[in-house]
Symmetry: C2
Subunit: 455 residues, 2 copies
């Protein structure tokens, strides 16, 4: 390992990629609100996998950390450089390398935004199903690196389920391919799924082959309002138990509804807990499922809302997608985690997480992907109250405790990043954690790929 006089200067002289100073927008993500900002020596803006490999090779030879960066929309500080090194932004790897609509297949570079992937697919009559939030800003490489979810993961699965193959740069600076444009492959260990969700700690994803599926002709959400958590959880289980193939199954608890009631595009009974389910498929099929969903939800609902026009439907999803912003705006600060639990524990997990808020004297609200048992519980902290803000770690830990006690996970879709890493060993147990660490070591013996995250 040779010494480096100035990373920015030396790197610029050595590689093809453009190197820029570590501007503020490259040093944080959604955790900025929690006060998390990083520090880097330089930002690399490569335009190809080969240019990425060049940067990684230079860094690896000199013991300089590499922090890969997508759209910066993460909630776990996965893209925040903790202690210097090079931020490797994939934004300029933004080509759709190929799109074969008749073969349900697309090859896209890491920096293509999620919204663009979905747009290109849709123009070919196809659906790229994963729909994490912030699609206009987030990048497919980041979605894959975090195995991002979203409301429609309930029917369609998370991002990784749609990845056929990956091109990535691994240490000490080489382009490799795991899988390819093939729908089935059991030749080697599943290195592709190992990279998926690895949060840049095993390699830098530069491109991916994605599987697509025919776009449903229709998608009709309906929402039922129930008297509290228990009745809401019962409705959720009723929808699942009915065997109806809902495309999404979401919940919005009474506390969240209280803040978001004013912007809801319809009537909401006071104090109600919302359960949103979507029917999709051919027009006939979606219509039939919608009717059945309304019947199942209607059994003990206080009210139902079933938008019909495209405008009304879009408005309902816009409202749903905007919940986080509405809640965030209430008191200026927050602690929020994305634990997931077995489906039959959703009600208990929501109640326990609201209870945790009460214990600390902090208002809490909970919503999320009910069908996947994935809670987004948020504690609303006064942004100008140091004492409240200081409670954030304990509040998050209360949620992790609930997840593990109920047989769940500390992260359903946001990832571990920096903020949850001390909890990973507790979830995995000592031997599985050792294996986890051994994999990191095998891929990154010098611990230079996004150090301090995940592993």
């Amino acid at each position: 390992m040779s010494r480096v006089a100035s990373v920015e200067h030396d790197l610029r002289a050595a590689v093809t990629a453009e190197i820029v100073p570590p501007r503020a927008e490259y040093l944080t993500d959604q955790t900025e609100a929690r006060g998390l900002t990083g520090r880097a020596d330089a930002v690399a803006l490569p335009r190809s996998a080969e240019e990425v490999a060049e940067v990684v090779a230079w860094c690896y030879e000199r013991g300089v950390a590499v922090v890969p960066r997508g759209g910066g929309t993460g909630y776990a500080a996965g893209a925040v450089p903790l202690n210097g090194g090079v931020v490797l932004s994939l934004e300029r790897l933004a080509r759709v390398r190929s799109f074969d609509p008749l073969l349900w297949r697309m090859e896209v570079e890491a920096g293509v935004t999620t919204a663009n992937v979905r747009r290109v697919a849709r123009e070919g009559g196809l659906l790229f199903a994963p729909d994490p939030g912030a699609a206009e800003q987030s990048q497919i490489g980041g979605n894959i690196a975090t195995n991002a979810g979203g409301p429609h993961a309930y029917k369609y699965g998370v991002t990784g389920a749609w990845v056929l193959g990956l091109e990535a740069v691994v240490a000490p600076g080489e382009v490799v391919r795991f899988g390819g444009p093939v729908r089935k492959d059991v030749a080697g260990y599943d290195l592709k799924h190992l990279l998926v969700g690895s949060e840049g700690t095993l390699g830098v994803i530069t491109s991916s082959w994605l599987r697509l599926t025919p776009a449903p002709e229709a998608a009709w959400p309906v929402i039922g309002f129930f008297d509290g958590v228990r009745a809401g959880a019962a409705a959720i289980e009723r929808v699942v138990g009915s065997g109806l193939p809902a495309a999404a199954l979401e919940y919005v608890d009474s506390e969240t509804m209280r803040y978001a009631r004013a912007t809801f595009p319809g009537e909401v009974p006071v104090g109600a807990f919302g359960v949103l389910a979507e029917a999709d498929g051919s027009h006939d099929e979606a219509g039939r499922i919608r009717t059945d969903l309304l019947e199942v939800l209607g059994e003990d609902a206080l009210a139902l809302y079933a938008p019909e026009t495209p405008q009304e439907i879009a408005a309902l999803w816009r409202w749903r997608d905007g919940l986080a912003l509405v809640i965030d705006a209430q008191r200026g600060g927050k602690a929020s985690e994305d634990i997931a639990v077995p489906l039959d524990k959703v009600g208990e997990a929501i109640e326990a997480s609201l209870e945790a808020g009460k214990r600390f004297g902090i208002p809490a609200a909970s919503w999320g992907h009910a069908g996947d048992g994935n809670l987004h519980t948020t504690f609303l902290l006064a942004g100008d109250d140091e004492r409240e803000l200081a409670l954030a770690p304990q509040l998050s830990e209360a949620l992790f405790d609930i997840a593990l006690r109920l047989g769940g996970t500390i992260s359903g879709e946001h990832g571990v990043g920096f903020v949850k890493r001390n909890w990973l060993e507790r979830q995995l147990g000592p031997r599985a954690f050792e294996l986890h660490t051994a994999i990191k070591r095998a891929f990154d013996p010098q611990n230079l790929l996004n150090p301090g995250k995940k592993a």
Copy 2:
């Protein structure tokens, strides 16, 4: 590492599991027809994960190989003990630990047969979608360890797509859990998917949490007959390009049809290439898709066959599932591989694999999972002709060559086992192969878990 006087004797004295002599039925799998039989020192028949751990710990301490065994229906010699050691048969871990039909979830031990998993699910109104051949004999643990496929993987995905979590015994003899009854989990690296398809070389799968889905009300296969490979391949692409969500999309080439024509439950034009597609879903939906499939296939089909009664439908699938046996019976010997290629290369791959047979003067037949680009090309060898039988390795290599040349994989669903391992590095490339090897070393530093397979 201590010396062992007699593995069978010493192991019996040391562990709870029943230990039996290495009887012939534990020493081979479907590769027996190719003359592959193994050699073991003892067979362990544990009844629980703890008993598995005891056996693995005893072996690991003494440097004795452990060869996990499911139903023994593999085609890659993955369960064949190559050079002594202990065959660890999972057959007595045969409990359904839990079944929650209203939550679409099941926890089953490794030794439950695939057919039983499907039966239990069906009795609860649900579908366990993966349907590899030999379901009555194969075990779910083996299906997971090989990431088995089957015709319906086209719509529903391979076995791994339905595994929520795994319980496994890893070296040096410890029970671990990767995932659980949770539908989303991005906490750690995807150790679950790493075990899936690892063919017993990273750990011994003892139990699994499976995701289920509501059973379709109806499933209607139709088959079109076409004039040769080109027309057949065009029909396959037409079905995919139509955007119809077929549940299965299979092909049976003209050579295979020639041998299997007599047993086909309907009329078959002479020399025809068959394309089978299945419509499933609600009655209405399946009916609509079936009509559309018939229209798409009918465009230039020589004939169509569209069974209507449950008996006719069952007969068609029985015929399809029996193809391998019919072909195997023709000349007494065979060489057969399960390469997969990109969908647009299916026709080319079929033609090239038949061409390879001609080059060697050996009759060839090809059928498989067209929609997944997964060929089962078989070379029919005279079982009593040593010269022909000796060609098997070269014929298999000709298929691997085709797969890699067309951007595919040496194995779509059967796995690498012993028979394909020399080809793995060529597919992965040197750096990915190094990482592959490093993972094996991390999980199994003494190379005692199914040595000589996969890695």
